[in-house]
Symmetry: C2
């Protein structure tokens, strides 16, 4: 059962999340025990369990915050650029900049996938949030008559998949630079957007 | 140092690979020891090491064979369909059918990524092979004047990323069916191909 938010102190919650992220990066997610997070935070054991149920729960919270950051960065740009075609492409630059700025969260996201069912569920929740958001944006373009009326879920999945894969190549494999990652995502969106544009 | 192929007996090698794949599915890659593979195969320890250096080496061999299967399935279709636009889309159905038919290899591929550096290297080799192949196909369309002269690597990466992500949703998360996976990959390629087609 989720813990009611009104019982929580935001700063304490954030501190526990920061300590967890530090440890996940330093020792790896699987080698970090809840005990380590508690010791690092300087709080008592009871405090931890006022905020989180278990280790997956703190990973879930980290990824939820991350999804919010990505969506709000996107939404800010959204209010500036009104050309839907340009917006479709340029918002991707913004999205990838946020992934790049949150390098440690990006690394955790890239490394833990597929490791266990509870983790897959955390990742799924994070990804579904982004896929829904991407779907809504494409649907908006279709409603406005700018984009062709094509099936949206395959495109929203392909967008997230491409971001995820190129993020992994940058943050885990280190075979491409941050700038290459961003440019590749943008370049892919240029071709995809051209395919989406309503045939005249 | 790789083991010279002329020293090897193909059937024995295949049997070791089949036993390894059975065990990777049954117990998980990480919980399978080389000892388990040897016992299951009925061969002596020395035989195993005539063929493979370590566990990653057998995973690498499984993935190499898998990449060959995918590429040759693709190439067969290639000789039938001459329309480059249709071919770009319909080969994806063929590719995803091969992924689907090799469900166990697909599952291993989807589950082990990101787990350790040597495994990441095996996966990278498998993926680079497919990305190169996809790149060559797009470049062929550009040379023939059918596709626009756009940067190819971002598209080849996006194609593999989308296949990988939807494969994972089918074979690990089981949130989409095999048929949905195939249709989503094909549908994405329809929009992408439209974006690739040379502007008239």
């Amino acid at each position: 059962m989720p813990i009611p938010e009104e019982k929580q102190n935001k700063e304490r919650r954030q501190r526990l999340m920061d300590c967890a992220l530090d440890l996940f990066i330093e020792k790896g997610y699987f080698n970090t025990a809840i005990r380590d997070i508690i010791v690092k935070s300087g709080y008592g054991t009871g405090t931890f369990y006022n905020y989180f149920i278990d280790k997956e729960d703190i990973l879930k919270a980290l990824l939820e915050d991350f999804a919010e950051q990505i969506i709000s960065g996107f939404s800010e740009y959204w209010t500036i650029e009104k050309d839907l075609y340009k917006r479709f492409i340029e918002t991707k630059r913004v999205t990838m900049e946020i992934f790049a700025k949150s390098e440690r969260l990006s690394e955790i996201y890239s490394r833990v996938a597929g490791a266990s069912d509870p983790i897959d569920q955390c990742i799924k929740q994070f990804e579904d949030k982004l896929i829904d958001f991407y779907s809504n944006n494409i649907e908006y373009g279709i409603q406005k008559g700018v984009f062709d009326d094509v099936p949206v879920p395959p495109l929203a999945h392909a967008i997230l998949a491409t971001e995820k894969f190129l993020l992994y190549k940058w943050v885990v494999l280190r075979t491409i630079s941050k700038q290459e990652m961003i440019e590749m995502v943008v370049s892919f969106h240029e071709t995809l957007a051209k395919g989406l544009l309503k045939s005249k």
